[in-house]
């Protein structure tokens, strides 16, 4: 027993001290990032989770580079250039120098293979076929040219090719019967090394990265340490155990700010937390009632309590930072916190104070479990009783998809595509339309925003959409938390695509491949 114990101990200690070392040039040879979640998949197209995507950003590359952090600019990555040749054909011209991390060149065959596999409805091959719903065909024109045929024009399709689930994989690797994990072959600057479940995942530098000259990497290894408890991440950063702490606890932020070895970085976020209604079910079919609720919810107090004021409230359903986003003062008739107005709206709705008791479905974890009681107290003020029903996130999603809820708390994060909000949250019959909304006005505007080629008109449609939603209150947007990242003061950060450095994205899709710590 004792021997086994000490042997185990030795193994674990060896594992800890194995990585961590210092390079002579003054760059720490590894970068350790403390994250709040564990990765769950190594095959890009079998998932679409932010935490995984941050890893695929190291090992894989997409046709185009999407700068998630700053206005969603698109840069070349595997494709040197691209264009819509007509309303239904998008052509990519590939960079002929691209090589996979196993040395083989990346050609049009790989792109066609990847995109066709991703389009497959077979859930054992791909789980992101929805992203390419518009695409009807992918074909090779020559070794470095690929043509994508769509059923209709879309303003936003190009962004999909900048998403990590559609990162280009190697056809040859999949055809190699000896390769049990062909999805590990990508053309990125790092190579997957090890995933110790529950602890960390490590990537080592791809010494033969094809684009080394233009876009060099520095850290020999990049490790994501799964430190689920926020306060633990903060302490780990201060102890020097990790170099970066993603989402440090806002309550402990002053400890980090006081620490001279730590830099706290804050920028506007893009992830929207909202209070949703099931508008197909009593009582929230009643628009006045929804408006009353919207006016009764004290968003600023929620931000103060949940985020320690590190967040912004909004009345638009579109995520802050997205294209065409309307801030509170630009929206006409947004329902701001006003108890008296809420009371009169409740009266107009036909319900008497105290007569209504509604169920609020909420996930059991933070921040929802903190938000829910505040909303409960807010609605109590105007005479609506709230019965909080807590459930795990998985159940919440199923329940809401099935339309069992009256009200619910949830969040939505979008990248570059506004369609991700306009269609996926509110379009008739869409699986994530938890509001159970079916409104022709909404559907029509969503379609127009996606396909209108005149960009001025398109912008106006998007404004119309947001204003319409603010008036009908199919959802009460609550807030967008700021992106907060704390890191070792030696971490070299940049905020442009061309500089060496990291890119922080408000929604959390960070790009770490070029980050390093200066000693």
């Amino acid at each position: 027993m004792k021997k086994v114990f000490f042997a185990l101990l030795a193994v674990i200690m060896a594992a800890t001290f194995g990585f961590s070392g210092v390079l002579a040039e003054g760059i720490k040879d590894d970068l350790v990032i403390g994250v709040a979640q564990e990765i769950n998949e190594l095959n890009p197209m079998m998932q679409n989770d932010q935490i995984n995507n941050n890893c695929f950003a190291l090992t894989h590359e997409r046709l185009v580079f999407l700068d998630n952090g700053h206005g969603y600019e698109i840069y070349p990555e595997i494709a040197e250039s691209w264009e819509w040749t007509d309303e239904t054909h998008l052509v990519f011209h590939l960079n002929p120098n691209v090589k996979f991390n196993n040395g083989t060149p990346l050609t049009a065959d790989d792109v066609v293979f990847t995109l066709n596999r991703a389009r497959s409805d077979d859930p054992t091959l791909s789980k992101v076929s929805g992203q390419l719903g518009l695409v009807t065909d992918v074909s090779k024109i020559d070794d470095y040219t690929v043509q994508v045929t769509t059923s209709a024009y879309s303003n936003e399709l190009i962004y999909n090719f900048g998403s990590y689930p559609l990162a280009i994989q190697s056809k040859a690797a999949y055809e190699d019967a000896n390769n049990a994990e062909p999805w590990l072959v990508g053309s990125g600057p790092y190579i997957f090394k090890e995933w110790q479940e529950g602890q960390y995942v490590t990537f080592s530098m791809n010494e033969d990265y094809w684009n080394k000259e233009a876009r060099p990497s520095y850290a020999k290894e990049i490790t994501f340490k799964f430190l689920l408890e926020a306060s633990q991440r903060a302490i780990a950063l201060q102890n020097g155990e990790i170099d970066v702490c993603v989402d440090p606890p806002v309550t402990d932020l002053r400890f980090l700010e006081e620490d001279e070895n730590v830099v706290v970085h804050t920028q506007a976020g893009t992830r929207l937390f909202y209070l949703g209604f099931n508008v197909a079910k009593e009582p929230f079919t009643n628009q006045k009632l929804r408006q009353a609720v919207s006016a009764a919810v004290d968003k600023e107090t929620i931000i103060a309590i949940v985020l320690d004021d590190l967040g912004k409230w909004q009345t638009s359903v579109l995520n802050r930072g997205a294209w065409s986003f309307l801030d509170n003062d630009q929206i006409e008739g947004g329902y701001t916190y006003d108890v008296e107005r809420a009371k009169s709206l409740l009266e107009e709705s036909g319900y008497k104070p105290g007569e209504l008791t509604v169920e609020l479905f909420t996930p059991t974890d933070d921040p929802y479990k903190t938000i829910a009681p505040i909303i409960q107290a807010n609605l109590k003020e105007i005479g609506i009783n709230v019965d909080i029903k807590s459930m795990d996130q998985a159940t919440l999603k199923s329940e809401c998809a099935a339309g069992h809820q009256q009200m619910f708390l949830w969040r939505w994060n979008i990248g570059a595509r506004v369609d991700e909000t306009y269609r996926e949250l509110f379009y008739t019959g869409f699986p994530t339309n938890y509001a159970q909304l079916s409104d022709p006005v909404v559907d029509d505007l969503a379609d127009k925003v996606l396909t209108e080629m005149d960009q001025d008109k398109r912008l106006q449609y998007s404004y119309d959409y947001q204003n319409y939603m603010a008036e009908t209150v199919y959802q009460v947007p609550l807030y967008v938390p700021d992106l907060v990242i704390a890191y070792n003061k030696g971490l070299v950060v940049s905020d442009s695509y061309d500089d060496a450095g990291i890119l922080f994205a408000g929604g959390g899709n960070h790009f770490w491949a070029r980050a390093y710590v200066e000693l």
Binding site: I12, Q196, D392, A394
Partner: protein, 311 residues
């Protein structure tokens, strides 16, 4: 002895079957569609339907259950909905962390509790005994996750001596092990004390003294050898407590063991992971209990005789 072990293993089978049925059934009752866990949130209805068909989720309950059991017999416990990794491998990959934590906690508890229990028994009704027993009672009454939080507050936040969580070297082990071990130590101190008090009253202790054996010899050679039997029983019974305590301590300290695996998997509705882990936990507990019984037999010739006699 061998036949006894074999018999125990055979008895285990229906228990495991019943457990798996119960858990499988319970997880089946749970709300939440597995498909929603597996596919990205914005997957289409067609994709969901295809996956449901593919996974055989539309089949009747017993068909699915027997398919699951059949899989287990073939050595396949399925794969996690969330991480898509093999359940058995994931469990085994984390088992050593829990064994390390539980084992260290147990060793820590034994190092404290057995000497203390003997000491208090020998000094029964003195102030030292009373004081130690009050402390032990506090230990038994403390929720161990709270103790963990308080230890973090003191040793990592105020004093900065030890990390507040995560894994790594020995220093990462200290706080979680103490958290699990302290409550256990309190319990075992009480057990040791009463076992020792019981033994001290026995006639054979007087026999030994009448032989001219020294006080220490009487206490350790005769007393402890007998008292250790109920102590081992208590330790055996506390393994369930160790596992429970570990699950909580693992959550508090971010320790990647099986307790946290199960709790996390339940929260994520990772049905194959939950079902598999709980069945494997049952097996683990059975193995531990069997080991305790075997140790027991080595300490107590009466029980050993029973095993080899009846087989």
């Amino acid at each position: 002895m061998f036949r006894y072990i074999l018999k125990r293993i055979i008895i285990l089978i229906p228990t495991l079957l019943a457990t798996s049925l119960l858990i499988f059934w319970a997880m089946d009752l749970a709300g939440g569609d597995p498909v929603d866990q597996i596919l990205p949130e914005n997957a289409t209805f067609e994709q969901k339907a295809a996956l449901r068909e593919e996974m055989g989720l539309n089949d009747p309950f017993f068909i699915r259950y027997f398919r699951y059991i059949g899989g287990i017999l073939k050595g396949d416990m399925g794969e996690s909905y969330i991480t898509h990794r093999d359940v058995f491998q994931t469990f085994m990959g984390r088992l050593h962390m829990t064994l390390l934590l539980g084992g260290s906690a147990l060793i820590f508890a034994c190092i404290i509790s057995i000497p203390l229990g003997i000491y208090t028994a020998l000094h029964q009704n003195t102030w030292k005994d009373t004081a130690a027993m009050i402390v032990a009672l506090f230990g038994v009454s403390m929720p161990n996750f709270w103790l963990g939080l308080m230890l973090i507050l003191l040793f990592s936040l105020k004093l900065g001596w030890l990390p507040s969580g995560g894994t790594g070297g020995f220093k990462y082990l200290i706080l979680p092990a103490v958290t699990v071990g302290l409550g256990l130590a309190a319990l075992l101190t009480r057990t040791t004390r009463s076992a020792m008090l019981d033994v001290l009253r026995q006639d054979y202790m007087t026999t030994a003294k009448a032989k001219g054996a020294s006080r220490n010899r009487v206490i350790y050679n005769h007393g402890l050898r007998n008292a250790i039997i109920p102590i081992i029983t208590a330790i055996g019974m506390q393994f369930s407590y160790v596992m429970t305590g570990s699950a909580l301590a693992e959550t508090v300290f971010g320790w990647p063991g099986i307790g946290r695996l199960v709790v996390d998997s339940i929260n994520k509705r990772d049905t194959p992971m939950v079902t598999g882990s709980i069945i494997l936990c049952c097996v683990l507990m059975a193995v531990i209990n069997l080991a305790v019984d075997i140790i027991y037999a080595f300490c107590d010739p009466r029980i050993k005789a029973q095993y080899s006699g009846k087989g």
